[in-house]
Amino acid sequence: VTLSEGARAGTGRELGMLDSLLSLGGLVLLRDSVEWEGRSLLKALIKKSALCGEQVHILGCEVSEEEFREGFDSDINNRLVYHDFFRDPLNWSKTEEALPGGPLGALRAICKRTDPGPVTIALDSLSWLLLHLPCTTLCQALHAVSHQDSCPGDSSPVGKVSVLGLLHEELHGPGPVGALSSLAQTEVTLGGTKGQASAHILCRRPRQRPTDQTQWFSILPDFSLDLQEGPSVESQPCSDPHIPPVDPTTHLTFNLHLSKKEREARDSLILPFQFSSEKQQALLRPRPGQATSHIFYEPDAYDDLDQEDPDDDLDI
């Protein structure tokens, strides 16, 4: 699958890319902006993975737990394991339910679990973590979490781990965003036009070319994902590949075209630097019938044709 741009969401295979985001595992980076917010897509993906029966852990740092759980129905809410770092991020109240080590400690604790099965971890949000933790520590922790399932020979067969991270692009410079996107297996950038949201999905498989696709979607009030066709194609005339190229030789005052006979004559022409055997023979053979020109030379008194000293400068 080569890189393709534009709103081509026609075939069923491509429609499944947004659905199958979580099946690849690893880090999925959701990049949103002020205009196109990503928390609703995050909640939609959480709902989908909860309905698939996976364990879902949420590290909530940016919004309160009530606000995050709002909109989910009760059976999904019961499946979500919520780690709250919004209410008391620095653990001042020192309750026993607070997890040691902060958000990264919670991440590592989730990974040390012993029960098998696929796990989805949602980070809300990576921007909050980037602002509170050094970038390198966060990158190392994310790498350790998302690559845990790939080490062979473990005693406990842990399942696949997917990490969904919400990143607000406008808060960070190109450095942290570039570092996180080089770690991510999948990158979803939210955008859209005219009230229609789109997700540009870039999938990096480990040793293959990255594939990308743009998927138009909308989120229904109960946080289920509705995939859609893009806006009408007439609104994008510049991407039409069927415009015939303009022929520059149509309105000229001189003739640039060759007829078939002229083309054959041109192709059979031997160029002057090409030294073929016929040319060699022609040069070697004396040409009959040619008006040969001879040079008549009579040496006069001043000419001294001395072959040993043609320049007359030897002083003997």
Partner: protein, 389 residues
């Protein structure tokens, strides 16, 4: 620098190292040779997989790609660092990295693989398989035949001088130096098991709670340097332990150096607090390499480094710098001028080792492509076709 010249004797290498100890003279009587060495002449140091440069006698090893060896003037000199600037999606630079390591396994060199991202054992499992001599000519011809599109069969009539340009791709070389690798097959398991390799996987070695004082190396780099130094001194690559066995070369491969996974934040911010960590690491590494029989390949994600001054310093501290630029995701992918190739290779720096001038090749316009099996580097031929009638 441990430049073992072709006419030096076997004791010269150890003499260089022990010169500081014995202040009398650096010339030593050649001791009794160890049994089992099959040197052809009394004065030649022949390590498998190396050859002296025809220009200055520097001992060279192959990089794993014969076309790249030709561009670098014969190969990679022992004691130097080859830095590869990764392409944006990190697809082609691991291939060069693995060809270097595979060349080490085929020649019987000792390997040291360091990575913060993947386990070195997994990296070794994915090395490409070597093309053996009798098969390689067949494979090579078949690939060249597939490469000849109908357009390239047009004999050039007007731009005929371009037909005389030397082709970058050379025929199969002898099995002594430089092998071809099949990127679609894995190296046989018995070759890996027969080889001597050491792995350094950062998450296993460093606990994440170390405090770093400013202006010093990050803990990951310190551990890696200590590891390399231990291997060099234990296995006698610097001549400190007299080697009973045949002398060998250590090939060091470091992957993704400078990325955040090594604990270095030059990729994360423009004004970093510890911007000299990577440059100090390269300086110490080069010192270790110069005093031992080793060669090093490093891949670095320079497209992520925010501060251009750091990239310039890193380039100056390395010996050979090659940049890979792939066309994926850029507008050049659909450009007809570049349609035969997958990316461009930029040779940014070639060292001047014991020389006033460096060994540059004449062609600077190089492109690479990953065919079904082979990775080839060619001169860009688009100019020739655009001059055709």
């Amino acid at each position: 620098m441990a430049a073992v010249a072709s006419c030096g004797s076997a004791s010269t290498g150890s003499a260089v190292a022990t010169a500081s100890k014995s202040n009398v003279t650096s010339f030593q009587r050649r001791g009794p040779r160890a049994s089992g060495t099959n040197d052809s002449g009394p004065r030649l140091v022949s390590i498998a997989g190396t050859r002296p440069s025809v220009r200055n006698g520097q001992l060279l090893v192959s990089t794993g790609l014969p076309a790249l060896d030709q561009l670098l003037g014969g190969g990679l000199a022992i004691g130097t660092v080859l830095l590869i600037e990764e392409d944006k999606y990190n697809i082609y630079s691991p291939l060069l990295f693995k060809c270097f390591l595979a060349e080490g396994i085929v020649n019987g060199h000792t390997l040291l693989v360091a990575s913060a991202k993947e386990d070195p054992a997994n990296i070794l499992q994915e090395l490409p398989a070597p093309l053996l001599d009798d098969n390689s000519k067949k494979e090579f011809d078949e690939d060249v035949y597939n490469h000849k599109t109908p357009e390239s069969n047009i004999k050039m009539k007007i731009a005929w001088r371009y037909q005389l340009l030397p082709k970058m791709e050379i025929g199969p070389v002898s099995s002594r130096f430089g092998h071809y690798y099949d990127a679609s097959k894995r190296i046989p398991q018995e070759l890996i098991e027969a080889s001597n390799w050491h792995g350094f996987f950062l998450p296993e070695k460093v606990s994440s709670t170390l405090k770093v004082e400013p202006c010093s190396l990050t803990p990951g780099y310190i551990k890696l340097l200590q590891f390399i130094q231990n291997i060099i001194s234990e296995e006698g690559f610097d001549g400190s332990n007299p080697q009973k066995k045949q002398r060998n070369v250590l090939r060091i491969g470091i992957q993704n150096l400078g990325s955040p996974l090594w604990g270095d934040d030059i990729c994360c911010a423009e004004n970093v607090s510890n911007s000299h960590s990577l440059t100090k690491f390269l300086y110490v590494l080069r010192g270790l390499l110069r005093t031992s029989l080793s060669a090093c390949i490093i891949t670095m994600p320079t497209h992520l480094i925010q501060n251009k001054a750091i990239i310039a310093r890193v380039t100056n501290l390395s010996d050979i710098v090659i940049g890979l630029e792939s066309f994926i995701g850029s507008e050049r992918e659909t450009n007809t001028l570049y349609k035969d190739y997958h990316g461009l290779i930029h040779i940014r720096q070639i060292p001047r080792l014991n020389n006033l001038i460096c060994d540059e090749s004449d062609v600077k316009d190089l492109a690479f492509k990953l065919k079904r099996k082979l990775f080839t580097i060619e001169v860009r031929e688009f100019l020739c076709f655009s001059l055709q009638s």
